[in-house]
């Protein structure tokens, strides 16, 4: 196994380990997606069929726009982008500079629990990803999280 392959496997292991924790912690959660900051999916767990490519790209657009809107409004940092629809919530947030986490949950989910759990996951991944490559689906990046 090459060094790059080993490190890529490690990235996936770190991310996949978070699925169980998040699903256990947040009743009503039905999807979690990790993607690169520029919208390429890395790994996901969905309880129903969804277009992960589109969701990853849209998470990137929303988080980018959220950050820009916060700065334009005189605020420092966009912590979350929250889509609240008739049927539920979609939350997207940064993990470090190079990764995004999106979580999809039903309407009966506690938004506070969803946000705090996503934040905890982000911090956990950040802490464990030091030195691991950020590799999009089929990608070849060996870039390190910062």
């Amino acid at each position: 196994m090459s060094e790059t392959t080993r490190r890529t496997s490690r990235t996936l292991q770190v991310l996949e380990r978070e699925f169980d924790t998040l699903f256990d912690r947040v009743p009503g959660l039905y999807g979690v997606l990790f993607c690169t900051a520029d919208g390429d999916p890395i790994v996901e767990r969905f309880e129903r069929q969804m277009d992960r490519d589109r969701l990853a790209a849209m998470a990137s657009s929303l988080v980018a726009l959220g950050g820009t809107m916060a700065r334009t409004g005189g605020q420092q940092h966009c912590d979350y982008m929250i889509v609240q629809s008739h049927d539920g919530f979609i939350v997207s947030l940064h993990i470090g500079r190079n990764l995004l986490l999106s979580a999809l949950a039903r309407r009966d989910t506690s938004l506070g629990m969803l946000l705090s759990s996503c934040r905890a996951t982000s911090e956990s991944v950040s802490a464990r990803m030091s030195g691991a490559p950020i590799t999009p689906r089929g990608g070849q990046s060996d870039e390190q999280d910062r």
Binding site: A37, D38, S60, L62, V63, A64, T68, N98, P136, E143
Partner: protein
């Protein structure tokens, strides 16, 4: 009453859309940059994933809104959103990039509805590169779609060249009718 028209810049990642808008915008431009990944990270650190935005105020009071799209196909929903109410399009193509004609086809396809209504201007960057096809190939490509669009060689790092592209696309656009593109007046009651 403000009179506003909206124009788009599109083209592949790294061709200079964000730079072009920032160069000629009268206001601080809005950018939505995210860290680049994969092969793209080898050539640039960040990339646009939502939109760029700038404004130019003309002497007659009209405000020109400049919107830049993300370049990558996976953001094509932004292409659809940004085309709404646009009155013209600049397609920037890097002549030195392998597959530059395929790039052009991608944006002719992606913005076909808008181009059919308003036309477009093709801005050819790095046109002195010997790596690209003959310039006529771009005209032929456009003609295959049934369009006649200007192909203008430009250095996108020069504001003068960006203004030239804008003048070309504005001259192709229909002038505003009185009830078009105007913000509603506030009720003073």
């Amino acid at each position: 009453m403000d009179r506003r028209r909206k124009f788009l810049f599109t083209g592949p990642t790294g061709v200079g859309k964000t730079t072009a808008i920032a160069l000629i915008s009268d206001d601080e431009p809005v950018a939505t940059e995210m860290a680049a990944s994969g092969e793209l990270a080898a050539t640039k650190t960040t990339t646009t994933t939502a939109l760029d935005f700038g404004q130019v105020r003309l002497e007659d009071g009209e405000v020109i809104g400049l919107y830049g799209t993300p370049g990558q196909q996976r953001f094509d929903y932004m292409w659809t959103l940004l085309q709404e109410r646009a009155m013209g399009l600049v397609i920037l193509i890097d002549h030195s990039r392998p597959g530059s004609l395929t790039d052009l086809q991608r944006y002719l396809d992606g913005f076909g509805e808008l181009i059919a209504q308003t036309g477009a201007v093709i801005g050819l960057t790095r046109a002195d590169s010997e790596a690209g096809p003959a310039i006529d190939a771009y005209h032929e490509c456009v003609a295959e779609y049934g369009y006649m669009l200007p192909v203008i060689e430009c250095d996108i790092r020069r504001a003068e060249d960006v203004r030239l592209l804008m003048e070309a696309v504005i001259s192709m656009a229909e002038p505003l009718a009185d009830d078009q593109g105007a913000l509603p007046e506030e009720n003073e009651s």
